[in-house]
Amino acid sequence: MPSAPVPASVSAEPLIQVEKFNYAYGDHQVLFDLDLNMRSTDVTALIGPSGCGKSTLLRAINRINDLVDSARVVSGRIRVDGVDLYAPEVDVISLRRNVGMVFQKYNPFPRSIFENAVYGLRVAGIKNRHDLEEAAERSLRSAALWDEVKDRLHEMATGLSGGQQQRLCIARAIALRPRILLMDEPCAALDPIATARIEELILQLRHEYTFIIVTHNMEQARRIADRTAFFYKGRLVEEQDTMKLFTAPDDPLTESYVTGRLT
């Protein structure tokens, strides 16, 4: 783990490079010839109708789909900081510690708030009480949750409100100080106020982490993303500067989707 949040290097080289990536569940191919670059300084939003493969791409980046027996890479590769993710020398456990993930349905463990915040550190083998407490406070502060929970750290996390639980999940992910945070529709189960707080949080943290967000909410993509990629039926249709994609897309398919006319 790095000693301090290293600001993402502003280099021409993109942090994540997806090259001719084909991905399948068994015989059912879900991603076709994907080419996509994501820079470390950007918040990237992935949009598209359900089943277009955007979540699959997200789950391929931290290789959590490995746990699905039938999932496999057909061809192509994903490079993160130049390393091919599916090369045999990649340590999946270390990869996941450095590429955090937040899920659609907030899913804190049925334990105390504190234990949730430090779970990643505990499984990484850190036992020192002081280190754990420090990390818990830091990550809960980063997730803008500290003031709300500091007096009840040892109560069950499941007693929090939905928005708080989702922020706890973000805190849990950033306690490991990952470089990249993958968010799979993080606000889908939240009300507008809680959603606003999460979006605010993403904007606050965007300089420390590279965000990749899957969302169905186009307003959300517009509000928080620098670049937006539109997927349709397993293919990347267009990847653009967010403002341009929503106002003057190159592809007519994109235009009909963002204006709600895609049938």
Binding site: L67, G100, F103, P110, A173
Partner: protein, 645 residues
């Protein structure tokens, strides 16, 4: 378009008002179907309630019946006799361990002589058997009237001689005898004939040798031998007196019971007479009832005879106590072998307590009152805390269910102790690590266990598991395990193993369900945070499923407690509280169980007797235990669920 062009539709108000009510026999069909389904659903509840009512109705009379029995037990003076008789029974155990101690002490000295003597006797029998045909022929000839001619007899004698000589040559002589002795003995065996009445001189010599050795050994341990003999004979007078009193009390009890039976009969006849319409029959019934009157038994007089001898009893007890103490004091410290020393130690430890018990019995005799009523509390206590389950006794039946409960509980605990790790670990493996093909194999196989008839498992327990445990218990490097080598093949551990096997499917399936129900989100989150598979299993999945696993274990326990056939066949069926002083080795002792006793005895008792009612009481307790265990399983599941939510 003009609205008048549209086809005319009926008025809405006519459509929404029901014009014709459809009914079946005056009922709304929807309601009938609902009640039909409801009735099916409630059948289980109704049957359960009926079972409870039935059990309670049969069992609850046990208390008054048993109270009456205990009342008789007291009034007829049986209790009085038991005051002395019970502590006196300890004498038998102590005396037998002293006797064993004596033989263990003598053993090393007399062993050789005894073995030589026994071997010689064995050889003689074998030699006689080998020449049996010729021997019988000669015997018959000798007995015949008139006696056969001398030359015939001579021929028979010659035959026998040849046969006996051949037999004595063919025998295998053990190395206990020297070559000289063997030759001598061989000659004597060859000369065996029915006309000789004395034993062969060699055997006589060996017997004499044994007697000398035995005498010498007894002299060496004279202290021990005399102490043992004295102690053995010490209670003879007391026994005689107690037996006399017991006979008297038993006679009193029988006459009370007879008169009670007559009274009951009379009551029944009178009741029958009241319900009969026919005046003739009524008159005859009443007449019969009048006749059914026993003599009034004067119990006070009878028991006074008993209590009058309190003084005599006390004197005898004092005499016994004195000689027992004297014997205890004269026991030596050194008895040679370690076996004998252990037995001696046991006796020495038991003796003071026994003496104390006897003294207390002597005082208890004075405070015993025949007219003290037996309280209901005592009856309940006698059932729930009674340590004896004695039935069909000529003296007095006792229905104490502690030995049965102990058996059931110990067996169930053994089973759960064995089954829990196996099924939970199997469930974790199947749920988390097994490939789909392995799952397809493991799950049906484990679930198939449930389909094995328990009586078949009983066979396996008797023939296979029992022998296996016995063999293992005799392996020399396993002797550190408490209780090894075991005495009984059929014991609680054997039953526990088989019940564990029967509980595995329940525990496994329910634990597996519990693990399956762990939300996918927890597992994803843990994986995404860089946990390894094992970390996810033990930090997230098992804790999240723990309520289900615990409730699975409890339901397994419920299944095990209620199981009958296996325990009946395999547990050994000894009605006694296992000796817990043996430590963990206690599991290798036989026991009887709540379920086993019902299955075994219910078919043999007469309906409505106190024994019958006692078995129903056991049934009620069993039912209650099962209900409690199941309720706990649900409560555990619910409690942890609500924490999670």
């Amino acid at each position: 378009m003009d609205s008048s062009d549209l086809p005319r539709r009926p008025e809405l108000r006519n459509l929404i008002i029901r014009n014709r009510k459809r009914t079946i026999l005056g009922f709304d069909p929807q309601q009938i179907i609902k009640y039909f389904f409801g009735a099916n659903a409630s059948t289980a509840v109704i049957v359960l309630v009926l079972i409870m009512i039935f059990l309670v109705r049969e069992g609850v009379d046990f208390l008054p019946t048993n109270r009456h029995e205990l009342q008789t037990y007291r009034q007829a003076g049986l209790e009085f006799c038991d005051l002395v008789d019970r502590p006196l029974r300890e004498h038998q155990t102590l005396s037998s361990s002293l006797r064993q101690c004596v033989s263990a002490a003598l053993e090393p000295i007399v062993k050789d002589a005894r073995e030589r003597r026994n071997a010689a006797f064995l050889l003689k029998t074998q030699a006689e058997e080998k020449a049996a045909r010729q021997r019988e022929a000669l015997e018959n000839a000798l007995e015949r009237e008139p006696p056969p001619a001398e030359d015939q007899l001579a021929a028979l004698r010659k035959d026998l001689q040849t046969a006996a000589a051949a037999a004595s040559q063919a025998l295998i002589y053990p190395s206990l005898f020297t070559a000289e002795e063997t030759a001598l003995f061989k000659a004597q065996l060859a000369a065996l004939s029915p006309e000789l009445t004395d034993l062969p001189p060699f055997i006589q010599a060996l017997s004499a040798e044994f007697m000398t050795q035995d005498r010498a050994a007894r002299e060496k341990y004279a202290d021990l031998v005399t102490a043992q003999e004295e102690f053995d004979e010490a209670p003879d007078d007391l026994h005689e007196l107690v037996d006399e009193l017991k006979e008297q009390a038993l006679g009193a009890k029988q006459s009370v019971e007879e008169s009670h039976a007559l009274a009951v009969n009379r009551q029944q006849l009178l009741e029958a007479a009241e319900t009969t319409a026919d005046p003739d029959e009524k008159a005859s019934l009443i007449k019969e009832a009048e006749a059914s009157v026993g003599e009034e038994v004067d119990l006070t007089a009878l028991t006074k005879e008993l209590t009058a001898r309190t003084g005599e009893l006390q004197t005898q007890i004092a005499a016994y106590v004195e000689s027992a103490e004297k014997a205890a004091a004269s026991l030596p410290d050194d008895v040679g072998t370690p076996d004998a020393a252990a037995l001696l130690q046991k006796a020495k430890k038991g003796l003071p307590a026994h003496v104390q018990d006897m003294r207390e019995a002597a005082t208890a005799l004075e405070s015993w009152r025949v007219d003290k009523p037996v309280s209901m509390l005592r009856v309940i206590g006698a059932f729930f805390f009674g340590t004896e389950w004695i039935t069909n006794s000529s003296w007095q039946d006792f229905f104490g269910f502690v030995p049965l409960l102990t058996g059931s509980v110990v067996i169930a605990l053994i089973a759960v102790f064995i089954a829990t790790p196996i099924s939970v670990i199997a469930a974790i493996y199947t749920n988390q690590f097994a490939t789909d093909r392995e799952k397809e194999l493991i799950k049906p196989v484990i679930e198939f266990i449930q389909a094995i008839p328990s009586v078949v498992l009983g066979f396996i327990g008797i023939s296979l598991v029992g022998d296996l445990i016995k063999e293992f218990s005799e392996v020399s490097w396993l002797q550190w395990i408490p209780g090894f080598p075991i005495q009984e093949r059929l014991n609680m551990f054997n039953a526990g193993c088989l019940l564990a096997f029967m509980a595995v499917p329940t525990m496994f399936s329910l634990s597996e369900d519990a693990l399956n129900n762990v939300p996918r989100g927890y597992i994803d989150a843990s994986d995404a945070l860089g946990a390894t598979k094992l970390q996810t299993v033990f930090r997230v999945i098992v804790p999240a499923g723990i309520s289900g696993i615990l409730s699975a274990v409890l339901l397994g326990l419920g299944r095990v407690i209620g199981e009958t056939m296996v325990v009946l066949l395999v547990a050994g069926n000894r009605i006694a509280i296992p000796d817990f002083s043996a430590g963990p080795g206690v599991v290798f002792q036989p026991a009887h169980t709540l379920t086993g006793i019902i299955a075994q005895e219910l078919g043999e008792v007469s309906r409505g007797s106190s024994h019958w009612q006692a078995l129903f009481m056991v049934g009620i307790v069993l039912f209650t235990i099962s209900l409690l265990v199941n309720w706990c399983a649900r409560a555990v599941a619910r409690r942890f669920e609500s924490q999670k939510a």
